[in-house]
């Protein structure tokens, strides 16, 4: 995967770049808005990581310009925690996701992976399937090994998100944002508890656990190897 990082904080840029390079990705780094804009226009990237606060031209301006020029590369904004309205502004400017600094690298990695492999607007799927687990999005039913599993609406939403991102790590924060629409950090283990409930319902009488907990990162739903 080829990434462009537009970030003026050299230390942070190096930290992110190294993390992705270690995982075998190609990374280009721009240290200000204008350079970033130039590089984004010149090369093909899978995902761009753009800092909101940049010298020369700020992150919002860069992404707005790129979007108006027809560049559709997924963008994840890095924002400071003081800006609670940054999320909306970033999404309005054409960003696809946002992450508040400072963050765990695993969080950024999971989000970049989710953006990079996002299918380019498929025809509306009506069923999802992972191993012996099937979800009918129209009838809103779930079956495992041919046996019907009754889920609460919230549990259904969680499973749907996990199945859409099957094979990829989904972090706790991603679940909070995408499933719960919570853009703050709850003090209790609301995600963990609901996941373990869902897991218990899915695994009833079956030995194979489809939802894998990735330590220090999040959850991953995938077919057993």
């Amino acid at each position: 995967m080829k990434l462009l990082i537009i970030e003026d904080d050299a230390e942070n840029a190096a930290y992110i770049a190294q993390g992705f390079r270690e995982r075998g990705h190609v990374v280009d780094v721009a240290s200000d808005g204008r350079q970033g804009l130039f590089m984004a226009g010149a090369g093909e990237f899978d995902v761009m990581i753009v800092d909101r606060m940049l010298p020369g031209m700020d992150g919002l301006g860069v992404v707005k310009t790129l979007r108006s020029a027809g560049v559709k590369t997924p963008v994840i904004f890095l924002t400071t925690m003081s800006g609670i309205d940054d999320r909306v502004e970033g999404l309005e400017a054409g960003g696809d996701d946002y992450l508040v600094k400072p963050f765990a690298f695993s969080e950024l990695l999971a989000r970049v992976n989710a953006l990079a492999r996002r299918p380019p607007i498929l025809k509306e799927k009506t069923t999802l399937q992972v191993a012996d687990l099937t979800m009918d999005l129209l009838a809103r039913t779930v079956e495992r090994s041919g046996r019907r599993i009754e889920l609460q609406p919230l549990e259904f939403k969680i499973l749907e998100y996990l199945m859409c991102n099957a094979g990829r790590v989904v972090t706790r924060t991603m679940l909070l944002e995408k499933v719960w629409d919570f853009h703050f950090d709850p003090q209790t283990n609301v995600v963990e508890t609901n996941i373990s409930r869902l897991r218990a319902k899915l695994n009833r009488d079956l030995g194979v656990d489809l939802i894998k907990t990735v330590r220090g990162a999040g959850y991953c739903l995938h077919a057993p190897e």
Partner: protein
């Protein structure tokens, strides 16, 4: 206050301008009155002279020149029914009678102004004596060629003119004096108030933020200015207080977790830990840092909510859905803790607000109840739509909060549990308070007999 200030004051300049305009209008008024009065008196005089001449002419026509001469003589002697000065000359220019000195030559027909020479008085160069009585005279030629002159002393007119001038002189002078004095008094009063505002501003600049501009209760513009000024100062003071509080909070409540972190790291450095222990210690240190960052972002979030910058994102938010969703999300959490969480929703309710903040408020209240209630507790989310408000309550049958502590727990970092045995930084309720106030609502903590009932009230949008 130095006197020179008076002349600098805008109000004084205004007063002076006003006085000048006033003086000019007085002068114009004077000119008009003088002119109208003089013209009217002149007209009156001429009318009476004309009438007199007409009656004498009548006498001449009916009774002849001799009778006219006698009549004039009679008038001169008795000074009755007449107008003062007469001259009658026969056609040859010989004077038949008259009381104007002969040195004064007979003017031509029509109106003329005759100045009488006065004994022992020198005439000025123009041949007129300024003080000498003048005569407004009318001269006619009678049918037989003799000439008749009748005139009247214009002293009365002169006197009236002088009286008018004098009256206006005194009146104008006193009016000007009054205007100047009034302007000075006004500007002094104005200056005094401006000065008091200035003193307050200087005191505030020197750091005494509690200083306020005195208000006069007069409800005039200056008073309104002072009131608004004070309101602005209140707002500034509140914001400053907010900033001060945030820095204090950061200083005090972040120091503790940071020093814990430091101790842990030191232990890692000093003790020769095995690889696994080392990894665990680093893991713990990262958790500590995350904890610090959480507190940090919570403080910033509260400060931002308090500064009021989030209102643009307000929209009608379906509280019924929100309450049901939060209850559904947290019921498993409660169950895991051996508690029970339910929601009772009374009809449809919407609140005009920020969905993120509304969600967080309810989540904070629910998490608070979960955290502080023992096993077996029942927690209920209650949503009621009343006529002019929407009430969102979280009720529990846990230990509750003593009445005297209820105000305190809404403050940042305040925790009833002094030992800090429970996790958390004491920011949850402070955020709820800030957020509900941003929504122009209120929070009330009350006794649920037993337990705690936290009620958020949101005004309906009109």
């Amino acid at each position: 206050m130095r006197p020179s200030n008076i002349f600098r004051a805008a109000s004084f300049r205004l007063a002076a301008l006003y006085a000048a305009v006033f003086a000019l209008s007085v002068a114009v008024l004077f000119g008009l009155v003088y002119w109208i009065a003089a013209t009217a008196l002149d007209g009156q005089l001429r009318a009476s002279v004309s009438q007199d001449v007409a009656s004498l002419e009548e006498r001449f026509h009916s009774q002849g020149l001799d009778e006219l001469t006698r009549e004039i003589n009679r008038r001169i002697q008795t000074r009755q029914g007449g107008i003062g000065y007469y001259v009658l000359e026969d056609p040859s220019g010989k004077r038949l009678t008259g009381n104007i000195p002969e040195a004064v030559s007979m003017p031509s027909s029509g109106w003329s102004h005759i100045v009488l020479p006065r004994d022992g008085r020198k005439k000025d160069e123009d041949g007129g004596d300024l003080d000498a009585p003048g005569i407004e005279a009318f001269c006619v030629q009678l049918d037989d060629g003799s000439r008749l002159l009748a005139g009247e002393d214009d002293r009365r007119i002169q006197e009236a003119r002088e009286a008018i001038i004098q009256a206006f002189g005194w009146g104008g002078a006193s009016a000007l004096l009054l205007a100047a004095a009034g302007g000075a008094v006004l500007s002094l009063g104005f200056l005094r108030r401006v000065e008091s505002i200035n003193r307050a501003v200087v005191a505030i600049m020197d750091g005494n933020l509690a200083e306020r501009v005195p208000t006069a209760q007069t409800r005039d513009d200056l008073d309104q200015l002072a009131v608004n000024f004070n309101a602005m100062l209140d707002r500034i003071q509140a914001l400053m207080e907010n900033v001060r509080q945030v820095s204090n909070d950061i200083a005090h409540d972040l120091r503790l977790p940071l020093s814990h972190l430091r101790q842990k790291l030191e232990r890692v450095r000093e003790a020769r830990l095995g690889k696994e222990d080392c990894g665990n210690a680093v893991e713990q240190a990262i958790e500590d840092v995350d904890g610090v960052l959480r507190i940090f972002s919570a403080i910033l979030r509260i400060a931002q909510i308090e500064s009021g910058g989030r209102r643009p994102s307000f929209a009608m938010t379906d509280m019924t859905r929100l309450a049901t969703f939060v209850a559904e999300s947290y019921a498993p959490v409660a169950e895991e803790r051996g508690q029970r969480l339910t929601a009772r929703v009374d009809g449809e309710a919407s609140v005009f607000g920020d969905q993120d903040l509304l969600t967080q408020m309810l989540v904070n209240l629910v998490e608070n109840a979960l955290k502080h209630c023992p096993e077996g507790a029942r927690i209920e989310i209650l949503l009621e739509a009343r006529g002019n408000e929407t009430r969102l309550s979280v009720c529990d049958d846990g230990p509750g909060i003593p009445e005297e502590e209820r105000e305190n727990v809404l403050q940042r970092f305040y925790r009833v549990d002094r030992s800090r045995a429970l996790p958390g930084a004491g920011l949850g309720l402070a955020l709820v308070k800030a957020a509900v106030e941003l929504h122009k609502g209120s929070i009330a903590l009350s006794d649920n007999n037993p337990g705690l009932r936290a009620t958020l009230r949101f005004p309906s949008r009109r």
